[in-house]
């Protein structure tokens, strides 16, 4: 009795009382399982859209805040010797981590000089690699290219140069001593 009453109240209060029943003529003429079709009501979809909107706002705000805070925080990085750098052959590259777990790439030009860059492509953070035959750094994801000497963008979608790793030679050992994030104006 009480369930009949609650059903009746729900029918009166609901805006969608006929969502899961056949209402149009063609639906009555083709009697298939309509529960499958109407698993998501308009109300449920509305709730989902509002939650999605909230998530997108929080995502945009959070990502922007983190990027801005990271850019403003200036921290001095400790010098770190790069193992195997002295034995690196001219015209070849060596991967290392600096600072912490950030991947970086050390290049030795044919004239023997060293240069080092962050390995993350500035487009969407894919790892770049040294293309020896073309003497440049290339990103395999979206075909971006960087100059092997300066890290400047040669072509493709990257908006700014690669992060530059400052290196120094101390007693014949190559050290990474800092990391410089460069903007699009370089």
């Amino acid at each position: 009795m009480s369930s009949d009453l609650s059903n009746a109240i729900n029918n009166v209060l609901s805006d969608e009382q006929d969502v899961r029943s056949a209402t149009a003529a063609y639906q009555a003429e083709f009697p298939y399982e309509r529960d499958e079709e109407a698993q998501v009501t308009r109300r449920e979809f509305c709730n989902f859209l509002v939650l999605t909107s909230t998530a997108l706002f929080v995502g945009a705000a959070g990502f922007s805040a983190k990027a801005a805070i990271d850019a403003r925080s200036e921290h001095t990085l400790p010098p770190m010797p790069i193992d195997g750098a002295a034995e690196l052959q001219p015209g070849s590259a060596l991967n290392f981590h600096y600072p912490g777990d950030e991947t970086a790439i050390l290049l030795r030009a044919k004239d023997g000089s060293y240069s080092a860059f962050g390995q993350k492509c500035t487009h969407l953070s894919c790892p770049v690699h040294y293309a020896k035959e073309r003497d440049r750094l290339e990103c395999p994801c979206h075909e971006g290219g960087f100059d092997a000497r300066t890290g400047a963008v040669l072509y493709g979608p990257p908006p700014r140069p690669l992060d530059k790793i400052d290196i120094q030679t101390r007693n014949g050992q190559i050290y990474a001593v800092g990391r410089e994030v460069r903007g699009s104006e370089v």
Partner: protein, 92 residues
């Protein structure tokens, strides 16, 4: 033999109350608006990611504000722009 079009078949059915059809239209409009706002916010999020990776931080604040405005609009649609309920329509 005369063929009956879908439109004619609908006309034979007992017509839904105008208020019910109006409510359905409002629900539909809410959904369309919310979908459009979601699409705009998706674009804003991708633009924010692009700007952050490119270190163009001057664009970020505007993009976050735009996303917040979209969110407020979707909240206002969700909480205040509702179809008239059955009880209100009965008394009106």
């Amino acid at each position: 033999m005369k063929f009956e079009t879908t439109e004619l078949r609908y006309k034979r059915l007992p017509a839904k109350a105008p208020l019910q059809r109006g409510r359905a239209a409002v629900w539909q409009a809410r959904l369309v608006l919310l979908v459009m706002i979601n699409l705009a916010q998706l674009w804003i999020l991708s633009a924010a990611v692009d700007a952050a990776l490119g270190h163009e931080f001057r664009h970020l604040l505007g993009l976050v504000i735009a996303s917040g405005v979209c969110w407020l609009i979707s909240l206002s649609i969700f909480f205040w722009w509702k179809p008239v309920g059955s009880r209100q329509s009965g008394s009106a």
